[in-house]
Amino acid sequence: MPNVYNWQIGREMPYPFEGARPTKQFAMIFDTNKCIACQTCTVACKTTWTSGRGQEYMLWNNVETKPYGYYPLGWDVTILDQLGVQRMNGPVYSGKTLFEAAPAGEIVLGYQPTDEDYANPNIGEDDSTSEMAQGVWMRMPHMQWMYYLPRICNHCTYPACLSACPRQVIYKRPEDGIVLLDQHRCRGYRECVKGCPYKKVFFNPMTRVSEKCIGCYPAIENNRQTQCTITCIGKIRLQGFLATPEAAREDNPMDYIIHGAKIAKPLYPQFGLEPNTYYIPPVHVPPPYLRQMFGHGVEEAIAIYRRASDDRKLLAAMLLFGATNEIIHHFSIEGNRVIGYDEKRAELVRVPMTEPTYIREAYDARFDAYRTNVT
């Protein structure tokens, strides 16, 4: 089996195919601290792509409450349990990836969820780890906690779904790194469903083949961010293209947030797929849980995030979340404005670095009324 370099785990690892990175890599950043689980992204995706027959319980985008929310049920704890305890104390992961842990006769360690596992997409919603005792107050990290985890297909650099398919039905586009499943060639074996640890490939019982998130490729091809990104009312997402660490550009907001400031982390990097959705970890959650989910460097990421106002460049990049429907390839700061540009450096958007503040007198002489400031 060829060896490929996975920068997220800091080492080479075996993968069934030769490593060949796309010209550009589709990527997304989620600020979990801003997500309120309103599911607007979920509904935007659902109405755009999966409202057909056989897709009733298929959610290419979902938002689940951690630690007790899952879609499908137990997706991460099941594969973590199968992988077993692994060591990841430093930037170089010394444990096993899912490819290295594959049992005899399998390409990748995986499991097939049951039909019932898909039946309760909102299970665990808003469930905290335990109840608050009378009279206690919150400390950091919180003693009782929960947070929201929005998820789409990770459009992995080393997709397990792609490697598991015996027919090479799944392919990674060289132009943007989006992972697609050929709806005409698929024969519904579900090796991809079994192989994907994030369980973002779904079987459609009406069409009898598998389907997955398409990264809104028709939008991407027209320089537009995905539906789940542009509809996010909390502006928690930024979608764009990500370089490898050595090729990172400081003026690409994705590169700067992930490789420069290092505040956004991949989801379960220890699986070895080099997933391309990145999470700014929740600041209030105990670090051991976050280290398991987002890998090495989570505490540093949170510390830098909490001081984001000290780093004007980081603050500027983060202000571009939800600022435009177009894909931002470059950004710069001019005075009190951050400017986002497209691939040809045409200006897309200007966002003030500091929101203007207006102070309103409590007494309004025009109406002879006192106002209560509610905002």
């Binding site: 409202s51 069409t207 009898r208």
Partner: protein, 278 residues
């Protein structure tokens, strides 16, 4: 951008040769019968005149993924022809027939394979060794018997307010129909539960644009009896030649859906000599 590993193909051929030598399957005699038309009725009287060949089945463990613990280890085979159509009847024990597909269930399937080019690997052929694979699917047969399943057939208490195809015209609704909208041949049967296909190695099986194979299955008393039939005379270059008085070969595969067998996770046989009566 990603290269398909080809390292398994030589190994597969070596394994096929080895296993063919190690196996002691008899040949299958294809008797001449008077029946007219395609020989696709598993309950037809003429099958009792055909000698039974017991074929040992092995788990597919050459290419990944494997399912070493297969459910079907023996298939009883009979064969007949009427000068225009050849028929092959497979029988195997199956206590739990499956013909309904939801995300965690797999349907029962069986396939017979004839060489088109020679030599060809019994494991779905190889580059330059084209094979014809006829595959019967229990789920297809259910569609033909009972109609395509709707959401209430799969989930009796499901509630759905609206589907795009109920409010959009056909052209606009097509985008919401996935594989059905691009006419994936495994989404729905044509007129038969048997797919007429060609292959040149693993991962290459392709449904032919013109379907000439047919068949039917009956499950009774814990046993599947599935008849396959196809024209004996090749009509196109990718059809097998199975003329009266000639000799050929056949290989088998069976998938027990209840045992989570699908795709490469199957039981298969080596090539079995086929003697076609004059």
């Amino acid at each position: 951008m990603l290269r398909i590993p080809t390292r398994w193909f030589p190994l597969a051929l070596m394994a096929a040769v080895f296993l063919a030598g190690a196996s002691a399957n008899d040949s299958i005699d294809v008797i001449a019968v008077e029946a007219a038309g395609p020989l696709k009725d598993p309950d037809a009287d003429f099958w009792v005149d055909a000698p039974v060949t017991r074929v040992g089945m092995q788990p597919q463990v050459v290419t990944l993924p494997h399912h070493a613990d297969i459910a079907v280890t023996e298939v009883r085979v009979r064969a007949a022809h009427n000068g225009r159509w050849i028929g092959v009847l497979l029988e195997w024990r199956d206590a739990n027939p499956r013909d309904l597909l939801v995300p965690d269930t797999f349907g029962d399937q069986a396939a017979i394979q004839f060489p088109v080019q020679s030599p060809a690997s019994p494991m779905m052929g190889n580059s330059g060794g084209l094979v014809n694979i006829m595959q019967w699917r229990a789920a297809f047969q259910r569609d033909l018997e009972k109609g395509s399943p709707g959401i209430r057939d799969l989930y009796p208490f499901a509630l759905v307010d609206l589907y795009p195809d109920e409010v959009l015209n056909l052209t606009d609704a097509r985008a919401f129909t996935g594989a059905l909208g691009v006419d994936n041949p495994v989404s729905r049967p044509f007129d038969s539960p048997v797919l007429d296909q060609v292959a040149e190695g693993w991962g290459t099986v392709t449904v032919k644009p013109v379907q000439k194979a047919d068949g039917w299955g009956v499950w009774r008393d814990g046993t599947w009896r599935v008849a396959f039939t196809r024209p004996m005379i090749p009509l196109t270059a990718d059809d097998p030649e199975l003329l009266p008085g000639s000799e050929s070969m056949v290989a088998l595969a069976v998938w027990d859906g209840h045992n989570q067998e699908v795709g490469a996770r199957k039981s298969w046989s080596v090539w079995i000599p086929l003697r076609i009566e004059e």
